[in-house]
Amino acid sequence: MIIKWFKPVSIYDLAFSLQRLTGIILAFYLCLHLAYLSTLSNPKLYESLIEITVSPEFLYLDAVLFLAGIYHGVNGFRIIIHELGYLHKHRMEMLIFTVVLTFLVWIFSLYMVIL
């Protein structure tokens, strides 16, 4: 039944599906992050794992993770505004603003990482 979350009829459904998907990705990342941190008691193991994460191949995944996190946060604010009962008639403008802001923050974050 959960597959019905991902059955978009309109662009807003797509935004909702992406919110769920990015939420799942972030939850998975959090588990992975905590697993990493749990190796702190074993410095050798921790260092070997950190070497993997700082590899250039892994940075592409980091970029995708940034995008997922930024979208989840910005879109979350959009939903909060609507859930407070505001700007329902301007939901298309809000969604466009969300997408634009997501990409701007993402590009800025990538720029900061590359620097």
Partner: protein, 234 residues
């Protein structure tokens, strides 16, 4: 124009193609009538008013729920795919089971509750235009089920009341003549009601009456929160 209609014979779902001669001004409902009258009399669909008031003819047209009687065929992409509404049990072809939908609607007490009614000496309940404005848009709901059919919360939780019932709840909670707000808010505060909405806004997008069910749900949430705070104050 080719119509691709999803059929259900009680056991199997399958698509069947029908060719219908169309011209400007014809609606999808007119075409369904043509198919039933001239091609296949076994085709089942629900309809009543033919003018967007009863909400009976809501079906999925090219993937999006809409009223068949209000959808002009010349505006549609060919082939026109007609399917029954999602999130409802299909009875036959395009006819779906609405019992559960109306039970949920009934559950929110969609009527004015007063304890000072006197049928022997009836009095008029005065309402100012600005008070009417607070709920008028939401009173236009025709219970077509389009919102319910696209709601992801309704798709994943059978007990969820759905947008239409919550719109009805807000419509009466916001009515200045009503005195049953507290008992109605008590109903919608339940685990499977108001707070199950995830603000996907699909309901507002497909509503043929453009009444913004998503907004009604959020306004009802606001009322519920205020009621919960009020209860904390002795």
């Amino acid at each position: 124009m080719i119509f691709k209609i999803k059929r259900f014979d009680g056991k199997n779902f399958y698509f069947q193609d029908f060719e219908v001669p169309v011209k400007k001004g014809l609606t999808v409902l007119d075409c369904l009538f043509y198919i039933r009258d001239c091609i296949d009399s076994s085709l089942s669909f629900r309809m009543s008013c033919r003018m967007g008031i009863c909400g009976s003819c809501a079906v999925r047209i090219n993937g999006k729920p809409a009223l068949a009687c209000e959808t002009q065929v010349v505006n549609l992409k060919e082939p026109v795919k007609i399917e029954p509404l999602d999130n409802f049990k299909v009875l036959k072809d395009l006819v779906v089971e609405f019992d559960d939908f109306f039970l949920k609607h009934k559950a929110v007490k969609p009527y004015i509750i007063r304890n000072d009614l006197n049928y022997k000496n009836p009095v008029e309940f005065i309402q100012k235009p600005e008070e009417l404005k607070k709920y008028y848009d939401f009173s236009l709901c025709i219970k077509c089920g389009a919102c319910y059919s696209v709601c992801p919360a309704a798709a994943t939780n059978e007990k969820y009341l759905g947008p239409a019932a919550l719109v009805a709840a807000y419509r009466f909670v916001a009515d200045s003549r009503d005195r049953g707000a507290r008992e109605r808010l008590e109903i919608v505060m339940d685990d499977h009601c108001l707070w199950r909405c995830h603000s996907a806004m699909a309901c507002s997008e497909v509503c043929p009456k453009k009444i913004e069910p998503a907004k009604a749900i959020q306004l009802l949430r606001r009322k519920t929160v205020l009621e919960a705070i009020r209860r904390l104050i002795p």
